[in-house]
Each structure stands twice: as structure tokens, then as C-alpha cells.
Symmetry: C2
Subunit: 143 residues, 2 copies
């Protein structure tokens, strides 16, 4: 029940990533990495931090998100123009994207299967395959 125990998981993750466990990084790591899988924009994380009484600047939010991404603690997902999403689930999986609400959600890995992959062009290899399943209201007709 000590502070040490409370922060240990986030702390370990930061240490493993060679990131100094500053107050801001610890708090953000806790929010991001100890609440199940999420898809957050920088702005959303910023507000969530504020709502939890964590004082962090937006600049630090951006820095932290990128550092975490480089360290493999997060994955960046780009699905629409204008903003990045950061996914706390770094394992291999794909996404639903609700065009109406701008919300991303995970597709369970056994619900999608790619049975044939293209040969990459000469001198290149496949780095990652990303599938976005774009959703719309069931009612709306194709137009």
C-alpha cells in the first residue's frame, strides 16, 4: 500500500524503457498502461490527466506519447486527417474505425484473417500490415 507499490508497474515499464521516471511520466504511464486497452488522442490524454489532477503541459503530453511509442509501450494509429491516436495495446491486431464518432476499437485477432499477402517491391520488406475496417450506421444506405 506504499506509494512505491502503487507505482511499481508503471515504474518498471519506464525503467525497462530507459526513461527517467519523472512525476509526469509516471502519472501518464499509470493512466495509459494500467487501465486496459485504450485509444487516445493527445488532447484526450491531456484532458484526462487534468481531470485526474495531474498537471502536465500539452508539450509534455506529446513528448511522452512519442517517447512511449519509440519505446514500444504504445502504438500510433493514423486513420483520419488531423490527429493521431495512441493505442495502449501494442500486440498485433487491427481496428474498427467509426467514421461518425471518430472512435477506434480493437478487432479481436481471430476475427480477421489475411490469407494472402503481396510480395514487397524489390529491396523492401513488409514492416507491418495494418487493417482499418471503417464502419457506418447500419441504417444508412450506401450513398
Amino acid at each position: 500500500m506504499t506509494m512505491q507499490r502503487t507505482y511499481s508497474k508503471a515504474l518498471d515499464r519506464l525503467k525497462n524503457a530507459n526513461l527517467r521516471p519523472t512525476r509526469q511520466r509516471l502519472a501518464l504511464a499509470k493512466l495509459l498502461l494500467e487501465n486496459g486497452h485504450r485509444h487516445l488522442t493527445a488532447e484526450e490524454l491531456f484532458h484526462e490527466a487534468r481531470a485526474n489532477g495531474i498537471m502536465v503541459s500539452l508539450a509534455t503530453i506529446y513528448n511522452t506519447l512519442h517517447q512511449f511509442t519509440s519505446a514500444g509501450l504504445l502504438r500510433e494509429v493514423v486513420v483520419d486527417m488531423g490527429q493521431s491516436y495512441f493505442d495502449t495495446n501494442t500486440s498485433h491486431h487491427h481496428h474498427f474505425f467509426d467514421e461518425a464518432t471518430g472512435k477506434l476499437s480493437d478487432i479481436p485477432d481471430d476475427h480477421i484473417e489475411i490469407s494472402r499477402l503481396p510480395t514487397p517491391p524489390d529491396g523492401q520488406q513488409i514492416d507491418r500490415v495494418e487493417v482499418i475496417v471503417r464502419l457506418r450506421d447500419a441504417a444508412s444506405t450506401s450513398n
Copy 2:
């Protein structure tokens, strides 16, 4: 060999889309729709237009790209933060994305196959499935 003949294809496309064939739209339609399949950013189209002696403002480039997209003459593709690509190939297909150069290219439709698709969440349907195969240099090791 008349002007009329030269522009007829682009002209028809505009008419079918209910877009007034203005000088700018005709010229851009010619660039975009009569040169095979391309993936262009707004800025690239702007420079290409200038290079071809077509005087168009960047604002008009953006307007036109969006009007063409709404009309189904183009498809917008978002793969990285900060800019949209417009694809002159509107038929069903997926993309390679070269992270190093920022270039998009088509994956022939018979080179990729998705054999299982997820059930969309309640009240929603699948609008479109988009696959991005991200490429990196063959030499570079995973890091």
C-alpha cells in the same frame, strides 16, 4: 484534334458528376484522370499544375480535390500524420506505403486476400476495409 476533343473525357466526367466544367476543374481533371493511376497530395498537384502552366490557387486545389472525392472521382487515403493522399484509382484495392519516402503504391487486387472479416458492432455495418502494407528497407533489421 479540336480543343473539344482534347477535353472530352475530363469534360464528361465533370458533367456526370454535376460539376461545372470551369477552366481549373477541367485542367485538374485532365491531370488527375487521364494519366493513369496516381497518388498525389494537394501540394504535389499544386506544383504539377503550375509546372503545366495551369494557374490555380491552392485553395482551389483543395476545393477541387474534395469535390472530386465526394463525386467518387478520387479516393482519399490517410496513412501518415499531416497530409492526405488522393488516389485516382477508385476501384477496390489496397496500398503499399513506403515509410522512408512517403510514397503510396497500389497492391494488385489478386495479391492480397482477406479470408475472414469481423462482424461489425451492433447497429453498424462495414463501410470499407482498408489495408496498408507498410514497407521498410530490406537491409534494415527489425529495430
